[in-house]
């Protein structure tokens, strides 16, 4: 059996409860003004190896510190997450509240506090209404279900317009190993405070340190390649739980099974990254910046991010304007060695810039590219043979509306 990665409707429904032994729930605890679900719970009765990557922002939210300690123990049984309040910039009270979320969850599930990962997303600077959170966690614990992934996925959303989830299957040592993922993106436009939460479950049996290494490497090539840069928010977090229920030969070294597992994890996380970018706040276009011919991955990523973060590029694509001048300009100031004469730019496969000047193009064909929803901007630096893809979206009136509205 080949590995299978899916982002179909059925797959989204299965999500994090697709791997064996995982239950999930999402409930309405009243943390959001909208009344939408806002407390999510993921649980594995069988102890799971845990790994995580976290925001590098010096202003990190309380749950980030709490969850880092859980990951340091290498095992966990549950993830509790809330939306509507980030529990960031909340001082000592915020730390107490994050610890209380752990304890309440542990008590409800019959595990220890150190078995519970905590995540929050929402407004910065507000304290969690702990009475509501407590009731919400209890309700979620009662609602835990092998079909609970969609509810959990919905309960972590903020300004996302739809829930993101997927599943994957890979055969390791003759045993079917399953992976499931849910994530939220959010607003965004550039590496900023848009919080990304990403929860991955798998029934693979894998050593916790190898799990961490695989996750860290995969994140560099998936969530960290969105222009909602994972390491910038106060609350960003990606967590994977591996409970070993698949019964595969335990992955305890970097063998073929490790590589196969990492490969399918990468594909799953890249798929969810595309979905997050496409659902950026106010987005009307999904843009893939494909940089090729770079000397290093770092160079390729830097160029891709420079283009992806340019408001002038993003507004041009919103306006369906094939303004290659803004693209090559953003390449030029990226700070990576490049020769304007050797660099080429294509929109949707159509050359628009080469040899230091614009390339004549078929206006009708290019118009068809620019008026589409998914657009690939290919930049060939002709400096080496390394490539990278950065995913982003355009910049619309709606973005300004969403973020310019007074919502403290």
């Amino acid at each position: 059996m080949e590995e299978i990665i899916m982002f179909s409707e059925a797959s989204a429904k299965a999500g994090i409860t697709y791997p064996k032994g995982f239950l999930a729930a999402g409930v309405k605890a009243g943390l959001k003004k909208s009344g939408n679900p806002d407390v999510a719970l993921i649980y594995t009765e069988k102890e799971a190896a845990v790994a995580g990557t976290f925001t590098k922002n010096a202003v990190a939210a309380a749950p980030v510190g709490v969850s880092k300690k859980v990951v340091a123990t290498h095992t966990a049984h549950a993830i509790v997450a809330n939306s509507g309040c980030a529990n960031a910039c909340t001082g000592a009270q915020g730390e107490e509240d994050a610890a209380a979320m752990q304890q309440i969850t542990a008590d409800a599930l019959g595990c220890t506090a150190q078995d519970v990962v905590v995540a929050s997303t929402g407004i910065i600077g507000k304290l969690l209404p702990m009475d509501k959170v407590k009731l919400g966690i209890h309700a979620a614990a009662h609602a835990l279900s092998p079909n609970g992934s969609p509810d959990a996925g919905n309960a972590i959303l903020t300004t996302d317009t739809y829930s993101k989830a997927g599943t994957a299957t890979v055969v390791l040592g003759g045993m079917e190993v399953r992976l499931g993922i849910i994530a939220k993106g959010s607003g965004m436009i550039r590496p900023d405070m848009a919080t990304v939460l990403c929860f991955i479950t798998t029934d693979a049996d894998i050593d916790a340190l190898l799990l961490q290494e695989a996750l860290s490497e995969v994140m560099e090539h998936s969530l960290n390649m969105i222009s909602i840069d994972g390491d910038m928010s106060t609350n960003d977090m990606a967590i994977i739980l591996a409970n070993g229920a698949a019964g595969n030969p335990k992955i305890a070294e970097k063998n073929a099974d490790y590589e196969a597992f990492k490969g399918v994890l990468l594909a799953l996380c890249q798929g969810i990254s595309e979905k997050i970018a496409a659902d950026g706040e106010g987005a009307t276009k999904f843009l893939t910046i494909h940089v090729v011919g770079a000397r290093s991955f770092a160079d390729a990523k830097t160029v891709g991010m420079s283009v992806a973060n340019s408001p002038l590029v993003k507004t041009a694509f919103f306006g369906e304007d094939p303004n290659w001048g803004r693209v090559i300009c953003a390449v030029g100031y990226a700070g990576v060695p490049m020769d304007p004469e050797r660099t080429t730019v294509k929109f949707g496969g159509i050359p628009v810039y080469a040899g230091g000047v614009g390339v004549p193009y078929d206006a009708e064909a290019l118009h068809a590219v620019m008026s589409g929803h998914d657009i690939v901007i290919e930049i060939d630096l002709n400096e080496g043979d390394v490539e990278a893809k950065v995913w982003t979206c355009d910049f619309s009136y709606e973005y300004v509306k969403i973020n310019g509205e007074y919502h403290t």
Copy 2:
């Protein structure tokens, strides 16, 4: 007599023709669809020391290369500039055209081509219509006048909503020394391709190398502190001509006169920087990010730029939302050592964040600050005693409109 720096209406009118011996003109050559003035000329019959700073973008426009060579000769007689076409990404033809602009100007004024600085701003990737440019330069040469500064100032504008100009006076060695400035900002919102052109004239007598040193240092604390970052466009250029007509004792070493001259040049350039930031594309607010308590100027600038470049901060101010969470988040990801507990944030002098949490504030007083046009965001890192100011503007629907409209 004290030094005097002015940005009044009278001062704007005097501008670059305020110092002795300078003439200027601005004419309509038909380069802009709007029919607005688009060719500017500045001339000093008396040879001037020249200094300049240029874009650091790897994709630099043709006139940048041409003008760097002029500055390398240390003397010049004229500056010719056009708007409506950037002459960037125009290959060998673009270089020929920039050189032709020099030669046409030199012929019209009776100097040599190497005496003429060339600058362009406008659309990238289009060739200059040289027949129109030639007629424009001839017309401008005929129109040169001691009252020509406003015309020249208007002829370099692109999406600016008003012309920026100022004057300054300082007494050196008993002689009155005058300085004049015109500049264009442009769109823009973050270090990007928005072209800044800044032309400064002075009748000071000063050695060209010292003039360059003074200009370079001043730019670091003025134009490079706008979030329209000077070194990012394909065409950015700041040029100063010093013709010595004031008759002051020649500044040939770093004496008190040098310091006084540099001080007044700094004040003049900071004043014009504020005007450029306040006229950002679609701006409804002028924001000063005042970072204090930093360990170094570089740290203070990095923090200020991180806040100034955050679309989430900028849209919050557009919405008059005192969202300090977005500000402290941008401080946190700036990459500069900072302690969330020690950092404080004030909006218009009103504390909003301290000790790691939000500070209760008088809502009415803060509303008055947020609804004003000029807002100071003060960030105290409490790490050292260095400060820096970064100037920017908010981010509005109008920005998206201006840049999302198809205008190739």
